[in-house]
Symmetry: C2
Subunit: 421 residues, 2 copies
């Protein structure tokens, strides 16, 4: 019975794959054989371009040209060059985006910038609002800012469905992640930004689970500030540098406290006094990790070949097709889906709950299907449209059905320190 169901789904998947506008993009990735990778939302896979560039930067640049590479291979311009490649993915101008440091460090800078702007015009605003179940580091960074520097401020956690109700004239900054890392629940960035602005609130968006998979329009939506991740849907390699976006209209007020030499107007003039560089340069701090940044730069070349609308279309279709497979194979009762069922409200992932989610994820991995687990009970499947095929979904859900029906998963206890989001 079940076999014929999956046979039929597989035929349907093959037809969808044949009609897929992005089908050829998969060939740009060096994917391991016999593995289905549903964890690109955690760590994107290597592209041939990135692999080539890693060798290029080490052997043909660092080894051969040594210190001269800073100019000869434009290492010095990489943060801007990478930023300019990311800009069109988020509806920003090239000069509004720069790559540097990590999301955590960049959120710290942006919180300071946004709070300082508010302090200058509305010093009585004392709240920083973020969502309950935001990715922890975002909250940790805001806690650090409040505890160490802004004791008069208050960090308020609000349910993601109650955000609009929490906006008032006491709020200085709203710091939100666009797509929930666990459930994939996607906030309405345009509406929230607009309503926050109506209250005079500045908004910082974390686009970790957005950039490279959901086209957004920072200009059209009036977005103030954003950060995003280089190693998820941008496939920039483990711990790739993050990026910062700041709207042009804020560029005259970007004073951030991590005033390292790369953010100086003239780093190589070796002046004694700090003078911030113009615009996004002022977000730079120390010497960038050139090898990691170069690999990210090369990874981004894939996006020159794709239309982000096609990416989003396929993302919604993939997640919808996965839900169809889950439903057809009667797995949804046992593994209820906690992601939004309307594709327009979710990112490129699906989350299912089960008391043995960790063990189930391990059983899937043992069978060549990389899914992941998020504490305490979430099985998370990510669908990166650039290389995941519809047929991969049928294979994955068919395998999941076998695991569940035959209780192949071990009742393991989750050990902290498994993987990195």
């Amino acid at each position: 019975m079940k076999m014929s169901l999956f046979d039929s789904l597989y035929t349907q998947a093959q037809q969808l794959d044949e009609r897929d506008a992005l089908a050829s993009i998969r060939e740009l990735f060096a994917l391991p054989e016999d593995l289905i990778y549903l964890d690109g939302n955690s760590l994107g896979p290597v592209t041939y371009a990135a692999r080539h560039r890693a060798i290029e930067v080490v052997v043909n640049q660092w080894q051969s040209d040594l210190i001269k590479s800073w100019n000869q291979h434009n290492w010095i311009g990489l943060p801007q060059q990478v930023g300019a490649k990311i800009a069109p993915l988020i509806g920003a101008a090239p000069a509004e985006v720069i790559a540097c440091d990590s999301i955590s460090v960049n959120l710290y800078k942006l919180l300071h910038v946004a709070l300082a702007i508010q302090h200058a015009s509305s010093p009585s605003r004392y709240k920083i609002i973020t969502q309950i179940d935001n990715f922890p580091t975002d909250g940790y960074i805001a806690q650090g800012v409040v505890t160490h520097h802004r004791e008069q401020h208050e960090l308020v956690y609000v349910d993601e469905t109650d955000i609009l109700d929490a906006l008032d004239e006491d709020v200085a900054v709203l710091m939100l992640t666009h797509v929930n890392y666990k459930t994939g629940f996607m906030l309405d960035m345009a509406e929230i930004t607009s309503k926050a602005h109506a209250h005079g609130i500045l908004v910082i968006w974390d686009l970790a689970h957005t950039t490279g998979v959901i086209p957004i329009d920072c200009h059209a939506w009036g977005v103030d500030f954003a950060v995003g991740c280089g190693y998820k849907y941008l496939n920039g390699g483990p711990g790739a540098p993050a990026f910062v976006y700041a709207a042009q209209r804020h560029h005259a007020q970007l004073a951030q406290p991590l005033s390292g030499w790369m953010g100086h107007a003239l780093p190589f003039a070796f002046e004694q006094d700090y003078r911030a560089g113009e615009g996004m340069q002022s977000f730079l701090c120390g010497t960038p990790s050139v090898i990691s940044m170069s690999v990210l730069d090369a990874s981004l070349n894939v996006f020159a070949h794709v239309d982000m609308q096609d990416v989003r279309y396929k993302s919604v279709q993939l997640t919808q097709f996965c839900l169809l497979c889950m439903e057809a194979s009667e797995l949804l009762n046992e593994l209820p889906c906690i992601s939004p069922l309307d594709g327009q409200n979710r990112g490129s992932q699906l989350a299912f709950t089960h008391s043995q989610s960790y063990a189930i994820s391990q059983a899937l991995i043992a069978k060549g299907i990389v899914a992941d687990f998020r504490a305490p009970n979430v099985l998370r499947l990510g669908f990166a449209p650039l290389y995941v095929r519809y047929q991969d979904i049928v294979t994955s859900i068919s395998t999941l059905a076998t695991i569940m029906n035959e209780h192949i998963y071990l009742e393991e206890t989750y050990q902290v320190r498994q993987t990195v989001t």
Copy 2:
């Protein structure tokens, strides 16, 4: 005349190279042929181990094992693993050193930690002292801390020869670079630390031009805090992660404001509230640049084969031999040396001044000798004992003599944005 002088010096150099205890270490480096590299104090060259590891981490880890690599290849433990390899080079315990972020970001963390410790016991101390001519980013970071967070504090720049006189009970933190990036002037770390402690001052040392070339003893000298560079004498690759050292006795008071998830006691428990991890883990912030960190990790393996006392001995000998060649070829009048003439007071470099230093450095580079220029008028030669030979010095100074005697250098104007220190 000059030819026979350099012939004789070359013979002498060959004898010194033959007796060099570190001669075989050069074979661990992939050095370009026909190039003499006197800029390892700016960017160390690639080792075969590092080159191999770059390919390993991209192809055999990221590509093949994807997200599983965090545990399988211990990516998650790299900051501690790299720290433990650096510890013996600075006389620290493995649990006192961790690799992360950049020197600039790490100085920012340490300044907050040190100021908070002082605030708790001696709130009236208001001065932060650093040296005039410290590497600019160190001062910029301290300026950022004072401007944004500690307006009641004052950053005081003191001549490097007047430091001891500047110490009193108003000083909270002394932040110094051990070896001057331009002149190579080396401070007496043991004496300064001891005298600062006598006044109740905490000391932060920047070991950028020290680590990997000058053995120091953080334990014996009672050093409080330090940062250091991964890409100079540690040869970790362009923009390699930096490191932080904090003495065990301060580990109970390491609250730093960049409280990202990797510094949390249990990053993968995804708790809402930040709880700092124990000891050095609390200095971690965002996800580390794994590719850059892996390359640094491999580069450090070279140090397993060397005795730091041999490294220091050769470093002093190399700089002394260079001065001998400069003097013998009568170049010191035209290019006076501003580095300490006593080898015990200098790092592994020599600085000469000339109004056309930039043009001279370019002429040297054109002839295959990589030296560098530091504004406004310094020609800087670095001598990394792991791969620079005595014979390289004779070739370099002989070439410099030709350039000076025949005025081969172009009178170019220095253009800002040349190279990265």
